[in-house]
């Protein structure tokens, strides 16, 4: 846990300025190594999924993005297999995953995945009203959708 905490302090925050692609990819790679060190721990998987999705949302059309999304999906699936995984965190990541799909292609995926994003964030907050990440992502998503619909007017 200490290694992860140290690493996370140094790693890129999703609220920060747009980091370099290579830095983010290296962060994900390091997290994958940490995850391999602690295969039964939930936290490295959570961070791996989160960082992979952060890359995908920052660079939605980069050549590595599909792999990053697949990496996140794998990590979420592994979390779901762990009996005591925090369901609120899993819902947050699932919501984030659908949100990335919308960012990749708003015209096609906005309508298709909107409800999934909202339902996952709502469920995450229902299970844990103090889930700050779910709150922030939900807020960002609503702002983004508002901008998108205003653009169409």
């Amino acid at each position: 846990m200490f290694v992860i905490a140290l690493f996370m302090m140094a790693s890129v925050s999703i609220q920060a300025q747009q980091p370099a692609q290579s830095d983010m990819l290296n962060s994900v790679a390091k997290l994958k190594r940490i995850e391999a060190m602690q295969p039964d721990s939930i936290q490295p998987k959570y961070q791996l999924a989160l960082q992979s999705l952060s890359f995908a949302v920052t660079y939605p059309h980069a050549p590595q993005t599909e792999n990053m999304i697949a990496e996140a999906e794998q990590a979420i699936a592994k979390m779901e297999q762990i009996k005591h995984a925090d369901q609120s965190d899993i819902c947050t990541l699932r919501g984030f995953l659908y949100m990335v799909r919308i960012v990749q292609n708003p015209a096609q995926n906005g309508q298709r995945y909107y409800i999934d994003v909202m339902q996952n964030y709502e469920k995450a907050l229902k299970l844990n009203p103090n889930n700050q990440l779910a709150k922030q992502l939900q807020q960002k998503f609503l702002e983004g959708m508002k901008q998108q619909t205003d653009k169409q007017k």
């Binding site: 290694v3 994958k32 391999a36 792999n67 779901e80 298709r112 995945y113 909107y114 909202m118 169409q152």
Partner: protein
């Protein structure tokens, strides 16, 4: 003190520098190249297992990093879509390595065999038809059944609007909600008037329509199955209304911590429409249907989910026809409760119970003063256990029981039927070798004293994510309709059909192509011999279905082509010789285009079917061009309009016994509907569930 502090700092710096130097001297450089075949793999993660020492390969597949580890260690290379590579050796030997990665083989849990099945969900790139798509599809007017008729293998039978699959009768296609059987999935109407599916598309999160070769889990369906999965427990409260010229709807959901309770009420009435637009048939009581639905869903935990559904329809319609005043009343109630839970060690258990009751009364059914009364009831009980044994094997087994009762009275004639069908099945999905998958199942059904064993197999070769080849074979069975069963002197059990299908699918990012030749042979069809139905009928149906979906022609344009060739013939019911059944048409073609411009989606559909054969003549071909438009007035308000058969062609559906053509009550049909979310905080969500 300052001096001491300075000394301390100096000593600390010296110690740190010494440590750093010592550390540097212990570093070993690990280097090499990662390839797939001869191609370098850029972005692979290469590291020493148990440490964070590692790096990503560069654009030429090269890697180089240092580690303080010494002695024997394990080097690992990972890349999404490839098998993990590991090398255990002495660190000092790990330089100038050449690492060959192999593509990952699909596990049994990841493989989705698409042969003969169209899935509507959100996991696949194609046919991601959700409730909104059903509402907006061609001429569906929000009807699942009408939307499914855009698929290949479907045959146009305009006079009743039901699903006819690959040369089979409409009742050969059976509907399941959350795995539980629905006895009557259609609404009712008078003769020669198209009916609709009785379920709202908003109820479901996934629809799998299998046109043959389905697993052993599904029985009592000769040609095809339509399993639908209801949505999960809602996470927020909802309230919505919709209105059109023919139907009005209100519904809502109350979301609780881990559960939700929904209701929906709808009134369908043709009264207003009949006054606005003329028609050929004379309805003295316009078609009216009152529907109510409620659902309760509870998630006990992430792996234990309870779902329940109750739906009730009351239909009333009166028609003046051939000098009599036909009056039809029907009560249709369907309820189910299912529970799915993980029970540890990779096992999951499903249990369910469903009840269907349909009560139909018709005055002046065939002549003035007569009365027809029919009551049908079915209880369906089911339990199934599943286990994922490994990455290459998945098994399931289950038992189910159909308990059926039927009473019919038509003046002096009457019958009462009570029977049950006990069934058991075993399924195994096995990855024989990488890229080759086998789904083998066996289903046994016991009815009266007869036992029927039905093997089913699907062998699939999936060389890559773009291609899929499958060979499907198996037998399915179904009891005959109650009316025939009652006239069979009790020696009739089940009809059977043998299926053989070859499926080829190509899928790229923008195009889907599927070609499926098929062959079906029917045994023990009901054949009237001296007024008694005997299991001596038989038949065949063969053909080929082609489906193309494309997203690449123009941005925001989706086009589809469905073509079906069918050659079927059978000897059954009152046929005196083998002939093509009158519902079957040889060629069916459907072309659709959907284009999105800003908040507007425009759809165009062309439907063609070749003529159908009747003893009194062959009908001209069927043709209809339909157009629809959806406008997202605001994120919470959607307006949908469609006009069917815009050129007003009078299609002849069939000929009656006197060679009179049977035509639709109207050549064109106009639908204008508005869907409004009142309490929902979500856009594009016009579902009340």
């Amino acid at each position: 003190m300052p001096y001491l502090c300075g000394m301390k700092h100096r000593i600390a710096h010296i110690v740190l520098m010494l440590l750093a130097v010592c550390n540097l001297t212990a570093q070993t450089t690990i280097s090499g190249i990662v390839t797939y075949g001869r191609e370098p793999l850029a972005g692979a993660n290469v590291f020493i297992l148990g440490t964070i020492n590692g790096c990503l390969t560069d654009s030429l597949g090269r890697f180089s990093f240092t580690t303080s580890q010494t002695g024997e260690a394990t080097l690992k290379a990972t890349f999404i879509g490839y098998e993990d590579y590991t090398l255990t050796a002495d660190i000092s030997l790990m330089h100038n390595l050449t690492i060959q990665m192999n593509k990952q083989t699909t596990t049994i849990n990841e493989v989705i065999v698409t042969a003969s099945t169209f899935s509507f969900g959100k996991s696949d790139n194609f046919k991601t038809m959700d409730a909104l798509d059903v509402v907006m599809a061609g001429n569906s007017c929000g009807d699942i059944v009408a939307a499914l008729q855009t698929l290949p293998g479907m045959q146009k039978v305009g006079e009743n609007g039901k699903l006819y699959v690959r040369g089979g009768e409409s009742d050969e296609c059976q509907t399941f909600v959350n795995g539980m059987h629905v006895l009557v999935p259609y609404s009712t109407n008078t003769e020669n008037t198209a009916v609709r599916g009785r379920f709202s598309p908003f109820l479901f999160k996934g629809i799998n329509f299998s046109l043959g070769g389905y697993s052993g889990e599904y029985g009592q369906a000769l040609s095809s199955v339509l399993p639908m999965e209801t949505t999960d427990a809602a996470t927020s409260d909802k309230l919505g209304v919709s209105a059109s010229l023919v139907d009005w709807n209100i519904g809502g959901t109350k979301a609780y911590q881990n559960s939700s309770l929904s209701f929906n009420a709808a009134l369908t009435s043709m009264g207003l429409y009949d006054r606005l637009f003329t028609q050929r048939q004379e309805f003295n009581r316009p078609y009216r249907k009152l529907s109510g639905e409620t659902q309760y869903k509870k998630e006990f935990n992430a792996s234990s989910v309870l779902k329940s559904y109750v739906g009730y329809d009351f239909t009333l319609v009166g028609q003046h026809i051939d000098g009599r005043n036909l009056l039809l009343k029907e009560h249709n109630i369907y309820a189910n409760v299912t529970h799915r839970a993980s029970i540890g060690r990779g096992y999951s258990l499903f249990t369910g119970i469903a009840n269907s009751s349909v009560l139909t009364d018709i005055d002046d059914a065939r002549m003035v003063g007569d009365h027809y009364h029919n009551f049908r009831n079915e209880v369906h009980l089911k339990a199934e256990i599943r286990k994922v044994c490994s990455n290459v094997l998945k098994v399931s087994t289950g038992v189910e029981n159909y308990i059926r009762n039927s009473t019919m009275r038509y003046d002096a004639y009457h019958y009462q039927l009570n029977y049950d069908i006990l069934a058991a099945h075993v399924d195994a999905q096995w990855r024989i070798i990488p890229r080759v998958f086998l789904n083998a199942s066996a289903r046994a059904e016991f009815m009266k004293s007869d036992c029927l064993l039905m093997p089913r197999t699907t062998l699939s070769y999936i060389p890559n994510k773009h291609l899929q080849f499958s060979l499907v074979g198996g037998r399915s069975s179904q009891t005959i309709a109650d009316d025939y069963l009652a006239q069979s002197r009790g020696d009739f059990t089940q009809t059977t059909a043998d299926h053989a299908i070859f499926s080829m699918q190509y899928k790229s990012d923008a195009t889907l192509l599927r070609i499926e030749p098929y062959w079906k042979k029917y045994h023990h069809l009901p054949l009237s011999e001296d007024g008694v139905y005997q299991p001596h009928g038989y038949g065949t149906s063969r053909g080929v279905d082609v489906f193309v979906e494309d997203h690449s022609l123009v941005k925001h344009l989706t086009t589809t082509l469905s073509y079906s060739f069918n050659d079927s013939e059978r000897l059954y019911l009152d046929y005196t010789e083998v002939q093509t059944p009158d519902y079957a048409s040889r060629h069916n073609l459907r072309l659709t285009a959907k284009y999105a411009i800003g908040k507007t989606i425009i759809g165009l559909a062309e439907s063609y079917a070749s003529g159908r054969h009747f003893p009194t003549g062959t009908t001209p071909h069927y043709n209809s061009v339909d157009v629809n438009l959806t406008y997202l007035l605001s994120p919470k308000v959607i307006v949908y309009t469609s006009l069917n058969n815009i050129f007003g062609r009078t299609n002849i559906f069939r000929y009656d016994a006197n060679a009179n053509p049977v035509v639709p009550s109207r050549d064109r049909f106009l639908y204008i509907g508005i869907f409004v979310s009142l309490k929902n905080n979500k856009a594009y969500d016009i579902s009340n569930f």
